[in-house]
Each structure stands twice: as C-alpha cells, then as structure tokens.
Amino acid sequence: MSLALRERLIFEYSRPGRGARGQWPEAPARSALDALPDGLRRQRRPLLPEVSELDALRHYTRLSQLNFSIDTHFYPLGSCTMKYNPRACNAAALMPEFLGRHPLAPVAQGQGFLACMYELQEMLKAVTGMRGVALSPLAGAHGEFAGVAMIRAYHRARDDLERDEIIVPQAAHGTNPATATMCGCVAREVAVGADGDADLEALRAAVGPKTAGIMLTNPSTLGVFERRIEEVARIVHQAGGLLYYDGANLNAILGKVRPGDMGFDVIHMNLHKTFSTPHGGGGPGAGAVGVSARLLPFLPLPIVAREPAAERGAEAPQYRWLGERDLPQSIGRLTSFGGNAGVLLRAYVYMRMLGREGMRRVAEYATLNANYLSARLQQVGFEAAYPQRRASHEFIITLKRAEQDYGVTAMDVAKRLLDLGFHAPTTYFPMLISECLLIEPTETESKQTLDAFVNAMAQILREAREDPEQLHGAPHTLPVRRLDDVRAARELNLVYREPAT
C-alpha cells in the first residue's frame, strides 16, 4: 500500500507533442484518406493524454498501488468469493494462439480451443447435476437474464401465457428482482422464516397459476443451507412454476450437493467466484447457465458440440458451434460472439487442476474457514445473526448491539478494518439484518490469516467501547478518508475537463 497522497490525473501529465511514438504505426500517405467525405471527418482532436510510455506506465502502476486486492490483502467480501486466482490459469489464457484467435475463425482452426470449451461444459454439468450447459453469458446477472428468459420461453412454448410472476425471497440479491423486470416479469417477494429458511406457508400462499418460477440461492444470502429445499421444489413445481438456482454461493456446496439433485431446473454459475477467475476491479465475469432436461431446447446460443470421430470418418472428434438451425427454440443470442472465452479458459484450467478430488475440498475448506471464523468472532464478543445454524461458506455478524451501546455502525467497523490491513466484508447486505457484515473467508486463506483478522476485529470492538471516535473517523491511513457521496451525486463531476487557458 503506497502512502502517496494523491496521484495526478493522466491528463495532468500531458504535454503537447509528447507521445509513446514507439507504439504507433507509421502514418500512411495523406492521400489514403481522400476517400473520406469532408463533411464526415473529425475536426477537433479528442482530449486524450500526450504522454510517454514511462509516464503512462508509472501513472497506472502508482494507481494500482492505491488498491486493495486479493494479491495484497485478505478480502472477505461476502457473496463475492474472493479466493486466490491461480496464475497458471492466466498463463494459459494468455498463450498467443488463444489471444490471437478471431471469434469468427473457422472451427477447423479452433479445435484446441473448442475442445477446452466442450470439456468445460461437461465438467460444469457433472458438478451441478444439470443436463445441459451454455457458456456464453458474460456475468452472473447476464446468466440470470438467460435463466429467467428460458423459464418464460418454456411456459410460452406450452401456451401457458399467464405466468409472469417470479418469486424471490426477501433477502435475495438485488439482481434477482431486477432480472425479473428485464424479462418482463413481476417480482414477488416472499418472507424468510426466523431460522433463515424459507417460510413455507408464505411460499404456498404466493404460488399459483401466475407463477413463472422462483429464484433461490442455496446456501441462501443469509449464509445458511435451505434445509427444506425439496419441499420448496415440490410446492413450486406443483404450482406449475420452475426453480431457478442463483449460483452466487456454489462455492459452499461444490462436490457436496448438486443443484440438479435439489430439483432446480435452471442455474447460473459465477465462474469468477467458484472457479476462481479474476474479478478485475469489477469484471470480466462469466455466468454460464445449466438446465434440466425440460429446458434444453431453450439454451442461449452458441453452444459447443462434439461429433464423435466414427460418425464423420475423421481421425479425431470434431467440435463445432451449435446455432439457430440446431436449436430453433433457443432464447437466442446474448453476446457479440461466443462469450468471455478468456475467462472460460481460466476456469477450465482451474477445474482441470482441481480435478474430482479438489472440487469437494473447495466446499470443505471454505466451510471450515467460515465456521471457524464465525466461532472465533463470537468468542471475542461479536453476535452472529444465526448462531444456532451451521455457517455455510459465509456468515453474518450483526452489530445491532454495538450500534445501540456505542453508536458504532457496521460501516465504522468496515472502514476501520481497512486501516488494519483487511478489506472490509460486505456491509448492509442482506438488508433483512440490521447493521450486518457478511463475511466470506474462502478456502484459500490460512488459519493464521483468519486469526489475524479475528485480532483486528477484537481490537475494533475494544475501540468501540473505549474510543468510538477512532471508528467514526476511520479510515485514517489510506490515501483518502471517507468520501462525500452526497456531493458526488449532487455536483456530478464525471469527466475531466481541460482547464480554461
């Protein structure tokens, strides 16, 4: 962590006439542009920096040093699965042949790539218990969109046209109701029981002839396993609805339970969570979707198929993209090309390295770490939201008491953790639990790291009692202190403008 006070904007390094000329191609003869109609040419140059290669490199290297990241800090951000991103995955995805392959290149010049994609589909089917997988959705929310669109397409194909309600638990990710809206459905929230499981009575009352489906995360966003999932599936299926599995928490059950066996009809997987591709400061992700048999015809395009050698008289199996002609009932295309191939390659390498033995260990050690951290934090005086339940791969601490007793909020604790060298957990989600921290340590953290985190949390609790101002004012040691979000929104300053000369 650099303590530099402030790194200037790249524009402030700019000097007229400077440039990273070694990077530029030679300018062609002016006549090359003669074909451009005068009226359609650009008159004024865009405001881009004029800097040397070193200027740019140093600037962005310095900026990088203002970030917390998995590589530099423990990052227990609940619901985000911030585990170590193995470098081998990156090394493989950056092999020049993979980087240079054009998305519309003929399949004959992509059998190596397509073999990886096909095998990735097959491995994802095996760990989720689904019948078909499509890799194209570009992120979790994009996969959610694909999933709910498939549910709609299924009902429409059966002439069951009234089903436009999607049931979501109160504590669901915001993407669930937002996705329902994007698919032209109405989101209907149902209550959660006091023990963190679904309220079955509320669910029975909510389902009916308008129910398109239900979106569930299991383990839920409350960090506990939905114990009556089979009953939930029965209720929804009997009402004619389908079950959608939000794969945000798949890390908790990898190799232990499969969504397909729980009765889910459609799922999305966040490959950037469970299968450890980098989060990249907000993206790219990959949100592959899996379906049960009844939704197979509706999968989004394209999908990779394998044609056994025998059928074609060729020496090796041939891989090809399936398109509209193969899947006429598909919900259609969701992406410019075949998906975030570079992310998918990373996930493929990760899964090949884990293999069948490693898969199960992900869930085992993620769960061990979460339960250990939960137990230790309770020992030092924190209150778990569901102390009677097993933690899954994550758990919730509520600071309701600290707020009442010392006026210290979850936000204060989060900000103070930054001072102590830890990224904050997720704050104020799920909204059902007041003053909450959602903590997900992941399986790649050692006991020693968890212990250090417990010590920091214990120190913060001490400070809450003895010196709450210390917490209200945190962070104290970062490049900036708490930012004025109200000013940011009222006096919108979204782009740099050249100072008037």
Binding site: W24, L99, G342, R376
Partner: protein, 457 residues
C-alpha cells in the same frame, strides 16, 4: 491439494474451536439423500506443469493464421505495456470498488476512462463500461425507451446493415420488455442507409433510430442527414461506433444539428486481444440530461472529509442493489480489466497515435481491396466510401474459397451467405495496421491460386 493452505494441525485446531468432530459434520444440515455420491465423471487433477503442457498443445493445434477477419472484432497491435500493467495483482485481483478508500486506483482509472470515452465520442458523460458491443446496443435501446418520454411506442428502428449479432442480441434482451424492432433496409447498390428507406416510418411514433458508423459492411453512413431526420420526428439517435474510427470520423456528439443522444459500441479494438470473442468491453456515453437513465457503474469526483480530492461510485440509486425491480438494468459488472486495457491503450496512443492506427488500417484495407479486385471474378460490392472493411462480390460461392485460403494459412474474411443471402456470394474482409504489403501480397497470391482450379475445371 491445490490452493488450500491448511496443515493437519490447523485443521484439528479449527475443528476444536468450532466444536465439530470432523469437516463432514459441518454439512450435517444438508439432507443426506441429497448428498453427492460420486464425481467420477470428472477427470482427476493435473499439476500446473501438466495442465500448461496440455494447454500449449491445444493452443498449437489452433495455430496462428494470417487473419483478415473483422466483423466486429479487430486485430490491432497492443502495446506491451498495456497487459503487463493491468495484470498487476492490484488491478487483476481486486473487485468492484465498493470500499472507495481502498479502491482509489480502480476508481481514478474509471474516471479517466469515462473522460477519454466522452471526449472520443463527443458526449458529456460515460459509464464505466458494459459487457460487450452487442449488449451495449441492447442496453442503449432499453435506455432510449426510458429517456424518450414523448414516444409511447417503444419502437426502435434497426438498420439491416447493423451487425447481425447486435440485432440478434437486441431482440433477445429487449423483446420480453415489449420493445418493437423494425428493420430498415440498406441501399442494395451502395450498402448505406438511405433516407428514402426511412420514409416508410414518416408519421409513425418511434422511439429511436440506431445508426452504425461505419456500418457492418464498413460503409460510411450519411450520419448528419439521418440524425436530423430522426430528431425532426422527436426520436432519439443511438450511435453504434468503432472507437478507432473516431480518430478520423466526426464524433456522434456532432452528428447533424444536435448530435446523437446515446453512443454505444465495442471497445475491443482498444487494447483487447481477439481471444475467440471475449472478454471485451462495451462502452456507452450520453448527454448529461440522460445520465440517470444510463445503466452500469458510474464514477464521480468528490472530496473526502478533509477536503482531499477522491473518487467514488455515484448515482447508485439507479442500480439493482438499491432499486431492485425498478433498476435501470440488472447489470453489476463493468468490464474492469478490459476497460483498464482500453484506458492504457488510449493513454499510450493519444489522439495522434489513434489517428495513425485508423489511417493505416483504412489504407491497408484499400490496398487489399485494390490487390484483390484486379483478379477476375472479384469486384467491390458497394460503391460508397468505406473505413477499414469492405465487401467483395465473388463469382462463385465463398465458403470453398475460404477453405482453400485456410489451407494456405490465411483467414480470408467472413462469408456473408448466412447473414445476407440477398447479396449473392459476398465476402467481408478487413486489414488493419498489423498487415503489411507482404501480407497483402500473400493474400492476393493465395486467392489467385484458390480461384484457379475451379476456373480450369
């Protein structure tokens, strides 16, 4: 075991602290009937060496042909500094900058990106990027319906000369919300969007007109007249642009009398490798008056409690985690890492470098077209000026010709038979600044060869 650091001692002590007899006991809330019996369908694990060997073999199998494909993904030189910087762990392994104080590096980079994209497109504001070009078009259509309150129809005019995949994605993503898409034909002789083709929509309520510049055929559109036509009918204009082309072409903010309203496009040409189709990034810029209708993350400059300048996510009340069912979109992602690549690329190129890339690409494509159209049976399909792509008409089906070129290590372009059967045998091709005279000569000679046997037969 890979990536799990626990020693046997650690495990024992941790279980003791929990008060559980075994790790297995931690799963005792899961109904036993549901537990996975076997994972035999999965292969066993590989070491890092083994997996990299496997990947290298597969990569080699795909080879490195000489690529003249464009059609929405373009091979440009990527300065070495771009990827060596953005794969630094601090960028690579961070997440969405929710904790602003611990994410100033990402936040400031996004602010710089927004500034560059707004200026490049001639607009006032930009978001922090979307998934890719196709989804950006779809989001642009949805946004136009929210932003244009005068129109009640939710009807969008989509040119047939818009990238066919973008058209398909707009349909997939927006039909469920009741949008109506009308296809506007292109002029058969020149490949452009003709004002005459739009007169069918005179007097009709429509929400927005989409204009791709240059269009899918590489043809440069008369954007001023088209923009003014749409604005005169109280519709918005959604510009779909190639960011490299904007070094030379009039930015959408200056189209017609008032400028386009929403600008979207594929960011891949800015520092992102072809990589079989992704990850790329989509961009979106607009006027300040529509900023609250924009989907995706947005970063703003502000100050901290001590008055020091800093950056934070702003206008979050539009987004799914607050607005839930009423959010502008369900999107949470910005393509952070790719957007970083774009920012570094633009910083290293600057306006002059970008102009050179654009001009060199345009010149190379013109040379390629000139070299190929001297061959018998090969001619230009459209009579209008193009940027760095062009459609050639052949005198025979394209697919076998492309296969023959592939035999010679050349990816000759895209066969348009599936997308535009009405054109007859048509080949869309592109040469960027990465192709030199020898590459173009190699293509011409391979095409000469490929055409010869059929002729003789």
């Amino acid at each position: 075991m890979p990536f799990i650091p626990h020693t046997d001692d650690d495990e024992r002590e941790m279980l003791a602290a929990i008060g559980a007899p075994s790790i297995e006991a931690l799963f005792d809330e899961i109904p036993p009937a549901l537990r996975v019996q076997s994972l035999d369908e999965l292969p066993t694990g590989l070491s890092e060496f083994e997996v990299l060997q496997l990947m290298a073999a597969r990569a080699r199998a795909d080879g490195r042909p000489l690529c003249f494909l464009g059609a929405g993904a373009y091979e440009h030189h990527i300065p070495a500094a771009v990827w060596s910087t953005i794969t630094r762990g601090e960028f690579y392994s961070a997440y969405t900058p929710y904790q602003a104080e611990a994410s100033q590096g990402t936040l400031q980079s996004i602010y710089e990106y927004q500034s560059m994209m707004a200026s490049l497109t001639g607009m006032q504001v930009s978001n922090a990027s979307l998934y890719d070009g196709a989804t950006a078009v779809a989001e642009g259509c949805l946004m136009a319906v929210r932003a244009n309150r005068r129109s009640k129809s939710a009807r969008i005019l989509l040119p047939r000369s818009l990238h066919p995949h973008y058209r398909a994605v707009a349909l997939t993503m927006a039909l469920n919300q009741g949008l109506i898409f009308d296809t506007v034909p292109y002029a058969r002789d020149c490949g452009h969007l003709d004002l005459d083709a739009l007169t069918a929509h005179d007097g009709q309520d429509f929400t927005a007109l989409v204009i791709q510049q240059p269009n899918f055929f590489g043809v440069i559109e008369e954007v001023d007249a088209l923009t003014d036509w749409a604005h005169a009918r109280e519709a918005l204009v959604i510009a779909v642009v190639n960011p490299i082309s904007l070094a030379l072409l009039k930015p959408p903010g200056e189209w017609g009398a008032k400028g386009a309203d929403i600008v979207v496009g594929e960011g891949q040409p800015l520092g992102c490798p072809l990589s079989s189709g992704g990850p790329y990034f989509g961009f979106m810029t607009t006027r300040m008056q529509h900023v609250r209708q924009m989907p995706g993350r947005i970063v703003g400059a502000t100050v901290d409690v001590d008055g020091r300048p800093g950056f934070s996510l702003t206008l979050q009340a539009r987004e799914q985690h607050i607005r839930r069912a009423k959010a502008t979109s369900n999107i949470c992602t910005n393509q952070g890492l790719l957007m970083m690549a774009g920012t570094l690329y633009l910083a290293l190129m600057g306006a002059e470098g970008l102009e050179r890339v654009a001009a060199a690409s345009m010149a190379r494509t013109a040379e390629l077209v000139a070299a190929l159209t001297v061959l018998p049976g090969v001619r230009r399909m459209f009579a209008r000026p193009t940027f760095h792509e062009a459609v050639l008409a052949l005198d025979r089906p394209v697919a076998p010709v492309l296969a023959a070129l592939a035999q010679r290590g050349i990816q000759g372009g895209l066969d348009l038979a599936d997308f535009y059967p009405e054109l007859g045998p048509a080949l869309l091709l592109c040469a960027t600044e990465t192709k030199n005279g020898a590459d173009i000569a190699a293509y011409a000679s391979a095409l000469t060869e490929a055409l010869r046997p059929a002729r003789a037969a």
